[in-house]
Amino acid sequence: MSARRPTLAVWKFASCDGCQLTLLGCEDELLTLADTIRIAHFPEASSVRVEGPWDLSLVEGSVTTPEDAERIREIRRASKHLVTIGACATAGGIQALRNFADVEAFTRQVYARPDWIATLATSDPIAAHVPVDFELRGCPIDKGQLLEVINAFVYGRRPQIPASSVCEECKRAGHVCVMVAHGTPCLGPVTQGGCGALCPGCHRGCYGCFGPKETPNAPALSAWLSRLGMGRDELVRVYRTFNANADTFREESLRHERDTDH
């Protein structure tokens, strides 16, 4: 008889489903994966629900409602390891733009009866509510990195996910630097790699889907972006997308927002 297969649970909070879809997008690996681990809770793919505790919980999405905040605590209690997948769960996602605005005004703009909508003032990363064992970056996450993380936790080792920049991947891929050669604004120097430098490969600047790299120097990059002609509002916006609430990007956008000299 084979040893007990570790159990996997996949959870959704506020998100677009793209990161959990990445697991179903492992078309070549999915059936093998399902032999190695037992998919115990994955409502988007299966109506089977195996009660916890679970060995590995993958969490997609950000915490945006009072119920979310309670639910993530229950999931954490029942999970041996908890890994966030993607920019929403790791940094709050695009919906964290509310953190810079008045969420009541947002609700009034979208819904006729704002009083029927229960929502928190901020969109929070999972780690703001419970301890997280590993945060996988990306909007969306990369399939290869997801498989690496699952493997690592199944076999009890740390995931090998580099925290270096898109620039390094870009050089290795042999792309021409879009900023140096064409003056195209690019967040590559401050953004963590993992996508494979997709944007420069398409002749556009990186727009930061994987969030800040380790030890980023955003002010130095901003100075270059200014020289390329970006004004204050553009500098605020360029850091304020899918990882707007990640520390470095948040601070840098706030710094430009406060800057009245522009």
Binding site: L21, P43, V48, T64, F106, Q109, S123
Partner: protein, 431 residues
């Protein structure tokens, strides 16, 4: 005295996003049916205000990881209309090609991994693979080819990076595209084979008198262009969308409901609507497959949507092959757009139906107003009407069977709740 009975599903499985179902019956009457959408709101329309018009395709893509291209393209079209951009025909063809990829991956996911397990009695495709290994392997390969096509044109399958207002950042070379041709040929055959297998499934005897709404186009099966047409004779430009539909906020759903303004009726969007209104413009092999699948000229049984989706998979492969064979190097990857003030409209056929966009820009190209209506949002009242009718005619079934039938009826629509909330949990209460 009549007995109250409730049937509930508090977290619907095999749909994209978070929803629930609540049904209450009193004696032999269905009193209440609610498709509850509790997915958290994310407020896209609010935070698009104040953004540059060129940012809209990347931001709106994040509404949905399954059909990002629908959002990117609707947003781009609206901006192009405002800026007076006339798109090059070859760029429009390349847009249609990547959209074929999105139809293939999204439909293959739904047909084989989310919907088919209901018909064959499995909880999921992975369990189904133990008894039907070849079927599931082929399904996964179909899906994979759709994703590969999106990656080839768009850079990646979830949230492609290569689409922009005016076209693309970089256009693929003829050689790059040629690499996928063999897979497309295989996919067309595999979809046809799958359709024959699926046509042999047992379908519940259930039909409704729907008001089908889809894009209609004189020359092509609609994907990225067309007027808004309906089975009752609506035929208007996309810019009239807000006039023909009225959106309302109901307490049990974080996704706004829609009704046709004039008749007050709910609308049906998606593959069955496209098929009903555009069947004669299917590509030849897909049209022949529709005949062999017994679909007739119109299909009103939502359980048979699985057949229509499969015909559309075949169509998307056939169309992608045509576009690929006609592909020549493109002189400019995008038409430059200069901002100007105004309001513009965009609508394309997302895998689940018409996805509508409206934006207003100021003279600097900053978004001042945004409205986005995903098809699942429109389909909510139609799904509730189906459930009402279905429960009413199956009150003799025990709760668990009735619950399962209800869940299946919801999955007929391939609802994308993440899209619609800006959207699912089943409760049946019997009285």
């Amino acid at each position: 005295m009549s007995e109250t009975r409730t049937i509930e599903v508090d977290y619907l499985a095999r749909v994209e996003g978070e929803g629930a179902l609540y049904v209450r019956t009193e004696g032999d009457r269905v009193e209440e049916v609610k498709l509850r959408i509790f997915e958290s709101p994310r407020f896209f329309e609010a935070f698009l205000r104040g953004r540059d018009f060129r940012e809209a395709p990347d931001i709106t893509a994040r509404i949905c990881g399954i059909c990002p291209v629908a959002y990117q393209m609707g947003a781009a079209q609206a901006m192009e209309q405002i800026c007076g951009v006339h798109m090059d025909a070859e760029l429009e063809d390349l847009r249609r090609l990547i959209y074929c990829g999105e139809w293939i991956e999204s439909h293959a996911l739904h047909v084989f991994m989310l919907h088919l397990p209901d018909f064959l009695g499995y909880p999921d495709a992975i369990t189904m693979a133990k008894d039907h290994p070849e079927l599931v392997r082929k399904a996964l390969r179909l899906k994979k080819i759709g994703n590969a096509l999106m990656r080839l044109v768009g850079g990646r399958e979830v949230h492609p990076v290569n689409l922009r207002v005016g076209g693309f950042y970089r256009t693929p070379t003829v050689d790059e595209l040629a690499g996928i041709r063999e897979d497309l040929v295989w996919g067309l055959d595999a979809a046809a084979e799958a359709a024959e297998f699926l046509a042999g499934l047992e379908f519940p005897d259930f039909e409704m008198d729907y008001e089908f709404v889809a894009l209609v186009h004189p020359d092509e099966y609609p994907i990225i262009h067309g007027r808004i047409g309906s089975s009752s004779g609506i035929d208007v430009p996309v810019s009239d969308y807000d006039r023909i539909f009225t959106e309302t906020h109901v307490v049990h759903s974080n996704a706004l409901h829609s009704h046709l303004t004039e008749s007050g009726r709910p609308a049906f969007m998606g593959p069955m609507a496209r098929f009903a209104l555009n069947r004669e413009r299917l590509t030849p092999k897909a049209a022949a497959l529709a005949d062999r699948s017994g679909l007739g000229t119109v299909c009103r049984n939502p359980f048979k949507s699985i057949l229509v989706r499969t015909v559309e998979i075949a169509f998307a492969f056939e169309e992608a092959l045509r576009l690929l064979d006609a592909y020549r190097p493109i002189a400019r990857p995008a038409v430059e757009a200069s901002p100007r003030a105004g309001t513009g409209f965009g609508a394309t056929e997302a895998p689940r139906g018409v996805c509508y966009h409206r934006y207003t820009l100021d003279e600097a190209g900053i978004i001042r107003d945004a409205k986005i209506v995903p098809p699942t949002s429109v389909n909510q009242p139609t799904i509730e009407a189906d459930l009402h009718s279905l429960v009413q005619s199956h009150l003799d079934l025990p709760d668990d069977q009735l619950r399962h039938r209800c869940e299946q009826a919801i999955r007929n629509y391939d609802p994308c709740i993440s899209c619609a909330t800006h959207f699912l949990d089943l409760t049946v209460e019997r009285g």
